[in-house]
Amino acid sequence: MSVRRVLVVDDDETTGELLEATLLDAGYDVAVAAGGAAGLELAERFKPHLVLLDLRMPGLDGRAFLEAYRRGRGRKAAVAVVTAVRDGAAVAARLGAQGVLEKPFDLSELLNLVARLARG
C-alpha cells in the first residue's frame, strides 16, 4: 500500500506539531494547515486520504471547512474531528464526520483511528 496522506487542519500550533510529529513518526505523509481556508487550499494539492479537523478555528471554522470541502470536486477523504468539546462524538455524528478524537487523547487512540480511516 502506498504511503497514506493525512491533512491536519488545526489553528493551535502545538497540537498541529504534535499530530504532525506523531504521524510522520508512524510513516504517514502529513501536511498541516493553521485554518479552514488554508486547509481547503492545501487539500486541493495534497489530496489527503484523511483529514484531522479541529472545529474551533479563526475565520473558516471546522464546520464551514467541512461544508466547503464536501461541496468541492474530486474524491473526498474521510474526516475525523479532533475536539475538546464535551459531547465530541455527538457533534462529529451531526457533522457526518467518520471519526472523532476527544482531547486529551492517547497517541495509540490517534494512531488506531488514523490506521482505520486512512485506508483510502
Partner: protein, 269 residues
C-alpha cells in the same frame, strides 16, 4: 364578628403564602441561574484546560516511543518535544491561576499585598518578557524614570501582562503596541495606558468586555477563558482605581488603568 376576623386573618395568611411563593420562585430562579453559570464555567474551563493537557501528554508519549526504539532520540526532536511540554505546562499553570483567582473573587477572598513599588519597573518587566515572545509586534514604552505607588506589585504585573497579552492577541497581523505611564502628583494618580492597532472590539461587544467568560471575538476562536479583563478589573478596583477601554477611530483598542498612588504620593522622579 368572629367570622369576619377569621376571614380577615385567612386573607392575611393567603397574602403571606403568596409572598412566600413569590420569594421561593425568585430563589429557585436565582439558584438555576447560578447553576447555569457554574455549568458554563466548568464547560469553558474544561475545554480550555484540555488543549494544553493534550500536548503535554502527547509529546511525553511521543518522546517515550522514540526513546524505546533502538536508534534512540534525535536531539532536535527531543528539544522540540521538551520545549512544547515546557510551554504548555506554563499555559496550563496560567489557566489554573485564573480559575483560582475567579474562585477567590467569588468568595471575596482575593487579597492584596501592598507595598511601595515602581509602576514603571513593573511595566518594563512585562514588556521585556513580551518582546521575547513575539517578533511581529513593535513595543514602545513612554514613561517617566519612575512612578512609585502603594500597590500589590505581583497583582499589578498580572493586570499589565493581561493588557499587553490582549494587545498582542488581538493584533494577529502584528503592529505597534504602545504602553504609556503618566503620574499626576497633584491628583495622586498613576495612569497606565496600553494601545494597539489591532482588531478592536465590535460595538456590540464593547459594553461586555469585563464580563466573566466574555470574548470580544468568539468567531475567531482565539482561545482563552474570557477571564483576563474580569480579573484585571477586580484587581484594579481593589486598589481603588479604575480601568476603562477606549476605541480610537483609527482602530485598535486603548485600555487605561488609573491607580491612586497611595501614601507615597508619587514621590519619585
Amino acid at each position: 364578628m368572629a367570622g369576619r376576623a377569621t376571614s380577615r386573618s385567612g386573607r392575611g395568611r393567603k397574602a403571606d403564602l403568596s409572598a412566600d411563593n413569590e420569594r421561593l420562585r425568585a430563589e429557585i430562579a436565582e439558584r438555576r441561574r447560578a447553576e447555569a453559570l457554574r455549568d458554563e464555567f466548568l464547560s469553558i474551563a474544561a475545554h480550555e484546560l484540555k488543549t494544553p493537557l493534550t500536548s503535554l501528554r502527547g509529546f511525553a508519549q511521543l518522546l517515550m516511543r522514540q526513546l524505546d526504539r533502538d536508534e534512540g532520540l534525535d536531539p532536535v526532536r527531543l528539544r522540540q518535544g521538551l520545549s512544547a511540554i515546557d510551554q504548555q505546562s506554563a499555559k496550563l499553570a496560567r489557566l489554573v491561576n485564573q480559575l483560582l483567582d475567579v474562585s477567590r473573587i467569588d468568595a471575596g477572598r482575593l487579597e492584596l499585598d501592598r507595598k511601595v513599588a515602581d509602576v514603571v519597573g513593573v511595566v518594563e518587566d512585562v514588556v521585556a518578557t513580551a518582546r521575547v515572545n513575539t517578533f511581529r509586534h513593535e513595543f514602545t514604552v513612554r514613561a517617566p524614570s519612575g512612578a512609585l505607588a502603594l500597590v500589590d506589585p505581583l497583582r499589578l504585573e498580572q493586570v499589565v501582562r493581561n493588557l499587553v497579552d490582549n494587545a498582542i492577541r488581538y493584533s494577529p497581523d502584528g503592529g505597534p503596541i504602545t504602553i504609556e505611564v503618566e503620574k499626576s502628583r497633584e491628583a495622586g494618580v498613576v495612569t497606565i495606558a496600553v494601545s494597539d492597532r489591532g482588531l478592536g472590539v465590535p460595538p456590540e461587544h464593547q459594553g461586555r468586555i469585563f464580563d466573566r467568560f466574555h470574548q470580544a471575538h468568539p468567531e475567531r476562536g482565539m482561545g482563552g477563558m474570557g477571564l483576563g479583563l474580569y480579573i484585571s478589573r477586580q484587581i484594579v478596583e481593589m486598589h481603588g482605581g479604575s480601568i476603562e477601554p477606549e476605541f480610537p477611530e483609527a482602530g485598535g483598542t486603548r485600555m487605561v488603568v488609573r491607580l491612586p498612588t497611595g501614601a507615597p504620593a508619587g514621590n519619585s522622579e
